[in-house]
């Protein structure tokens, strides 16, 4: 193992922690809006860290470009879908959770 | 001329022609009827071309892509394939002529492309020598058949089609599982190669079980026939004819082929089981047919019964191979013609009187004499009275049973004939009875009457053609060599 391996391992483990947190939020949060919040926030960052971890290992800039493209696409899709779900929920009349 | 005939690879033509025809019908819906009729007629000619080719050169084999099995897929045709292709082309042509007047405008634009693709699927099925390729043709055939069965719309047709689709998909999946086991057990999908490599092992037995159940479900052998009567009885008449005469034969052909090449030599009592189920089908189907009050359902249950006869050949084949299998082949052919004629005649009655209640069939004989005649002639073949194709088939079957002293099967064959006489005469009797209820009557085009009559004539004519037809079927020795020759 050389230093770059340690770096990418650290990045990817950090990413996995974010995924774990997001998943926990998805399962434990009380209503659809807060679940979406937990999911998208954590997953976007988590995926970003994983992509960075992989980019460290990449053999060429083209691969780095592809990885970044994947991240951007997931960001775009994730944000839009979260918005659509939230809007759908509002239209259905699902109330915000208040303590 | 002869050189040209043998130079063209007619098997490929038989697949591509209806395919191209179907696509053309889809692209130009206004010309669908003309394009469809031309394509089906061309298919009929191409089958003659293939027949000529096989008669002169023997077995037809075509390595697609030039690869040869096991890497590539081969097309294969012997006498048995030729018989199925010819039956499909003949019956298909008769039904097409009928459909040209039956479907109009938008309905014609829906019917023709699907029917031509079904024809392509059937031809591809009868020509395939590869078990996975057969799966694709099975799915093609199943989806086309379901789409056609749903053409009429309405609760009954849609419900029937839905049930048919689920049964068909389940059957294909079971078959595909069998393909997976055969391939992973013996490293090939080519039937001839599998025939050489297969030896008794759990994989083969499981494949036999899965493929048999899947194909029996699609062939609607008792007690897996539950989907057939609703689907066949609620479809438009020409579609019922196609489904009963041709589509159930497709899956039966695969089963027969696999049995002859791969599973038959293994033994193991499955043939006895098939014989029992066949017996059950004959008795149950005939009794149900007798009970029906609607003509179309009666004809559909008659199909359930007649399918049983095909399976009586399996237990008889062990020691009278050629006779028993020739009987099955002859029954398949004559049932295709006769059942198509019956459904088309039923369609005429429905169109004429607006209903198909058997009790109110009174004026049919006077007003639709040709249709009544077609129904009666087809009935002669279904009952197995001489001279008819049905008679030859049942006679051969009786011969095979008698040489082995299988009196149980002899009595089933005869009893089935008597029951068939019962339900055919039930219809004819009502058609002759005068009743004075007046019906709204609609004109039935002459072509529709003649199409039914000519198909029925074909079934009768087969009674005189036994030896040429059987010698043609024997090309390539599909049934193996046996001591009894027809």
């Amino acid at each position: 193992m050389n230093p770059s391996d340690y770096l990418s391992a650290a990045l990817m483990i950090a990413g996995a922690v974010f995924f774990l947190a997001g998943t926990l939020g998805l399962l434990r949060f009380p209503d659809v809006y807060s679940r979406l919040h937990a999911l998208t926030k954590a997953d976007n960052v988590g995926l970003g860290l994983v992509v960075m971890g992989l980019a460290v290992q990449a053999e060429s800039w083209a691969v780095v470009g592809k990885l970044l493209l994947i991240w951007l696409l997931v960001l775009l899709a994730g944000a839009s879908v979260a918005h659509l779900i939230a809007r759908g929920a509002l239209e259905r009349g699902i109330k915000l959770w208040r303590r | 001329m002869g050189a040209l005939l043998s130079e063209i690879s007619w098997g490929v033509v038989l697949i591509l022609l209806p395919l191209a025809g179907g696509i053309a019908c889809f692209l130009f819906p206004r010309a669908a009827k003309v394009l469809g009729l031309v394509s089906v007629f061309a298919v009929l000619l191409s089958v003659s071309g293939l027949g000529w080719n096989i008669k002169v050169n023997g077995i037809y084999r075509h390595a697609i892509g030039g690869w040869n099995a096991p890497l590539g897929i081969d097309l294969y045709a012997d006498g048995l394939s030729l018989l199925m292709l010819a039956a499909t082309a003949l019956v298909g042509f008769g039904i097409s002529v009928y459909s040209a007047d039956y479907f109009e405008r938008e309905d014609a634009a829906r019917f023709w492309p699907i029917w031509l693709l079904l024809l392509a699927a059937l031809n591809a099925l009868f020509l395939s020598a590869d078990v996975f390729n057969l799966y694709v043709t099975l799915e093609l055939m199943g989806l086309a058949a379901v789409a056609l069965a749903a053409l009429a719309g309405g609760r009954d047709a849609l419900g029937g089609a839905m049930r048919y689709l689920l049964a068909s998909l389940l059957g294909s999946l079971a078959y595909l599982f069998g393909v997976a086991l055969l391939y992973h057990g013996f490293g090939s999908m080519d039937i001839a190669m599998l025939a050489v490599r297969v030896e008794a092992s759990p994989a083969v037995w499981a494949a036999l079980g899965l493929m048999s159940v899947g194909l029996l479900l699609k062939t609607a052998l008792f007690p897996l026939h539950f989907w057939l009567p609703p689907a066949h009885a609620s479809a438009p008449a020409p579609v019922s004819a196609l489904l009963s005469a041709l589509v159930v034969k497709g899956s039966f052909y695969i089963l027969l082929r696999l049995w002859l090449e791969i599973f038959g030599p293994l033994g193991g009592g499955v043939d006895t089981l098939f014989g029992l189920l066949g017996t059950g089908a004959i008795l149950w189907g005939s009794l149900q047919a007798l009970r029906q009050t609607r003509l179309k359902l009666l004809v559909a249950y008659s199909t359930v019964a007649q399918i049983g006869y095909f399976f009586i050949s399996f237990p008889l084949a062990a020691s009278a191979g050629v006779t028993a299998w020739s009987a099955a082949a002859y029954l398949v052919l004559s049932h295709a013609l006769a059942k198509a004629a019956m459904f088309l005649a039923t369609g005429n009655v429905l169109r004429f009187g607006g209903h198909d209640r058997i009790a109110d069939l009174d004026r049919v004989v006077q007003r639709l004499p040709l249709t009544a005649c077609a129904f009666a002639l087809a009935g002669v073949s279904i009952m197995g009275l001489p001279p008819s194709g049905g008679f030859v088939g049942k006679w051969l079957l009786l011969q095979a049973a008698l040489t082995q002293d299988r009196w149980d099967l002899v009595s089933v064959i005869i009893l089935g004939g008597v029951l068939a006489a019962g339900y055919v005469f039930k219809v004819i009797g009502h058609a002759f009875t005068l009743a004075d209820i007046s019906h709204e009557s609609r004109e039935v085009p002459a072509k529709m009457e003649w199409a039914a009559l000519l198909l029925a004539f074909g079934a009768i004519l087969l009674g005189f053609l036994a030896s040429p037809v059987l010698s043609l079927v024997g090309i390539g020795v599909p049934f193996g060599v046996s001591e009894v020759s027809p």
Binding site: - | R155, G159, L165, F177, A180
Partner: protein, 102 residues
């Protein structure tokens, strides 16, 4: 025992689960899902056993067969869903006519 057989057994399990659901459930959408799960099971058997080559490169033929199978499955699913919708529009219930009122 190897990964090939592990996944092949999972395939057998999925096939059986799907068949059970196909028999037991009346709702057509559920039956369609069941057929799809069964199909996945068969595909899994077909591909898992292709890994028995003993090399890193598995047998490519079953892979191609399964891609064909996936396309066939989506075609059949589309047709089945359309039939289901039309039938429901006629009868008001997404069940086979004979199963209704059971």
């Amino acid at each position: 025992m190897s990964a090939a057989f592990l996944f092949a057994l999972v395939g057998v399990g999925l096939f059986s689960l799907g068949l059970y659901a196909l028999i037991v459930h009346a709702h057509l959408l559920r039956k369609i899902l069941a057929i799809n799960v069964m199909g996945s099971g068969v595909f899994l058997v077909l591909v898992a056993l292709a890994k028995r080559t003993g090399e890193s490169q598995p047998d490519a033929v079953p892979h191609a067969l399964v891609i064909t199978g996936i396309v066939v499955a989506v075609s059949a699913t589309a047709l089945a869903l359309t039939l289901m919708l039309k039938l429901t529009a006629e009868t008001g219930r997404a069940e086979l006519p004979e199963d209704q009122g059971k």
